[in-house]
């Protein structure tokens, strides 16, 4: 559905996109992740035909964004990270204006505007002036605008940036609904847990190159094992402490890192061993009040893939 072939974009001596090749199949919700300056926005702008690559090509539904931009524009809905709205225009008029720009006839236009206002939960704001809407509402309205001509590919650059948690949750719900409509969605975000919930696949960019491209599950699997964290209600006696440390070393092959009331075991030995460790600690009389592996987060995976803090990630 969407493909980048050896895409290169240079700004003077700076290489924003460096021989990027990636492919997104129809119906996928694809996340685009990377630190600032990784080339996400540049790649998205090339796909939206707002920028010409220095070399390579990008295709949407087999149509070249370089050679047939007008055709690609009909296939793509684009929502930039920063955008303005017109003042003195009501929400429905704003959408009506863009419907006119995509040459939609008056009757279809009315129905489509109603549908999009409903989808983006803005029906009650139909008569409100656009410049008086909250940031979250403006973002949703801009999303509705991007969907106006029923595009096959939706390119969303940081759609939830600057939103409060409630507005982000609303946006997430809408995007989930759009994903269920079967549209191909390319979405960039700095809020990785949200991407993991929404996306079926993702690409991690760094310095203009794809350092990972695959499913979200695969991305999480790449992460090294999460540590076992044991929390104690109170500090045990010294002999118990020594026995517990020995028991854990026997089971995992290495001693735990012991802080007051919190022990940490980095080694991995499977869930059975974790269970045995818990039993051993309880039998020794260690007052365990918390026991479990830390959740594998996408942030950690991202750090690993991009070389851990190397480029001051924007999370």
């Amino acid at each position: 559905m969407m493909e980048c072939r050896e895409l290169v974009k240079r700004y003077g001596k700076t290489v924003a996109v460096d021989h990027l090749s990636l492919r997104v199949e129809a119906g996928e919700v694809h996340g685009f992740v990377g630190p600032n300056g990784a080339g996400k926005t540049t790649t998205m702008r090339i796909l939206a035909t707002l920028m010409q690559p220095t070399a390579g090509d990008a295709f949407v539904d087999g149509v070249s964004a370089v050679h047939e931009p007008q055709k690609v524009r009909a296939l793509v809905g684009y929502m930039p990270d920063f955008f303005g709205v017109y003042d003195n225009l009501k929400a429905w008029e704003y959408l009506d204006f863009y419907a006119g720009c995509v040459s939609m006839d008056a009757r279809t236009r009315r129905r489509r505007i109603d549908e999009l206002l409903e989808l983006t939960a803005l029906t009650s704001k139909r008569e409100a002036y656009v410049d008086q809407l909250s940031r979250g509402m403006k973002q949703r309205l801009c999303l509705a605008r991007a969907l106006m001509h029923d595009p096959k590919l939706l390119i969303l650059d940081e759609p939830a940036s600057g939103m409060d948690p409630l507005a982000r949750a609303q946006m997430r719900e809408i995007l989930r609904e759009i994903g269920q409509m079967g549209k191909t969605v390319l979405i960039s975000s700095h809020i990785l847990p949200e991407l993991s919930e929404l996306c079926t696949s993702m690409t991690v960019l760094q310095k203009g190159r794809a350092v990972f491209s695959g499913s979200v599950a695969e991305m999480e699997r790449r992460m090294h094992g999460a540590p076992l964290v044991i929390r104690l209600a109170e500090q045990p006696e010294e002999p118990v402490l020594k026995q517990a440390a020995q028991a854990l070393e026997t089971l995992f092959g290495q001693p735990p890192a012991m802080e007051p009331l919190k022990w940490r075991m980095e080694a991995q030995a499977g869930e059975q061993t974790d269970a045995q460790a818990l039993r051993a600690l309880v039998e020794l009389g260690v007052p365990v009040c918390g026991f479990g592996r830390e959740h594998a987060t996408l942030e950690k995976a991202f750090m690993e893939v991009t070389g851990a803090y190397e480029a001051e990630p924007d999370l």
Binding site: T49, L50, M51, Q52, L89, C101, V102
Partner: protein, 302 residues
């Protein structure tokens, strides 16, 4: 009929702003004061030749006021049109719709023109008073209004070109005022100091008796026709006759008056209108060309 969406939306937004209401009100108030002062000469008194002269002068002053309005307002209107979209970060959203260069430029131009035309035509009833107070035929007044509208369109087209070239509205406005100043003052300077100017001394034109109007017009320095004020002044001279003296004492400095008089003020005004329309068309084509170059593939080239 499908309206250009950019025209429709921009016009709707403009008419909702307080600034528009303020401009309209102020202008209408000025016109009201002007028309009352013009009519007060005739209150309770008969029409005499002397008073008709006052009526004619009032008509000329009103036309000058309309021209001043165009020169003051049109650059700002035209210059903000496309640069404003960029500054507001809405231009990209417009481009991705695939709306096309022609619709963008014409939509913006026509919307600004519609507003300016509204202001100019608001002055029409007051200008029509010249029919009563100065005996100027209604058709002649309509000619003047048409000419003013043509000048307004040209000034807006200059603004649109600058708007396309500049990223910021402020620089676009400054550039437009400079360009309009150049179009007005520069045309005079070229006419005076250009290579063709030397041929048109008052003395040499005395001997032009056998030349046709077209020959005289074609022999005149072309830049002079591109100064909209030349055509408008010629039109007023043609309509009223009372500008001749003024023109002779001022314009003769540039040796153009003789040629204009020899060709006929009506013909000079028509040539001026033709040049205004031609330059407007060229400017619109230029603006479309620039937008197309910048956005035909894309807005930002690599």
């Amino acid at each position: 009929m499908k309206l250009n969406p950019i025209f429709e939306s921009s016009a709707r937004r403009r008419m909702r702003t307080g600034k528009t209401a303020l401009i309209l009100t102020a202008y209408m108030a000025a016109l009201l004061v002007f028309s009352l002062s013009q009519l007060s000469v005739f209150f309770g008194q008969g029409v005499t030749v002397g008073r008709m002269r006052l009526g004619t002068e009032a008509y000329i002053w009103l036309t000058a006021l309309q021209l001043a309005l165009i020169v003051a307002v049109a650059p700002a209107l035209g210059a903000v049109s496309i640069a404003g979209e960029r500054e507001r970060q809405t231009f990209d959203l417009l481009l991705v719709t695939g709306v096309g260069t022609r619709k963008i430029v014409l939509g913006k131009l026509l919307e600004s023109f519609a507003f300016l035309a509204l202001l100019i035509l608001a002055g029409a009833p007051v200008m029509m008073l010249a029919h009563v107070t100065a005996g100027i035929p209604v058709m002649r007044v309509l000619e003047t209004l048409m000419y003013l509208l043509a000048i307004a369109l040209e000034a807006l087209a200059v603004g649109i070109v600058c708007s396309v070239l500049c990223k910021r509205t402020l620089s676009a406005i400054v550039m437009t005022y400079l360009a309009i100043g150049l179009l007005g003052g520069g045309a005079w300077a070229l006419a005076k100091h250009g290579p063709l100017a030397a041929h048109y001394t008052y003395e040499s034109l005395r001997a032009l008796g056998g030349m046709s109007t077209a020959e005289i017009l074609l022999g005149m320095p072309l830049p002079v026709f591109f100064c909209p004020a030349v055509g408008l002044v010629s039109l007023l001279a043609h309509q009223t006759g009372i500008l001749h003296t003024t023109m002779q004492s001022t314009l003769r400095l540039f040796d153009i008056y003789s040629a204009m008089k020899a060709a006929g003020f009506g013909a000079t005004a028509a040539a001026g209108l033709g040049a205004t329309c031609l330059s407007t068309a060229l400017l619109i084509a230029l603006a479309m060309g620039i937008v197309h170059l910048k956005t035909g593939f894309s807005y930002q080239k690599g």
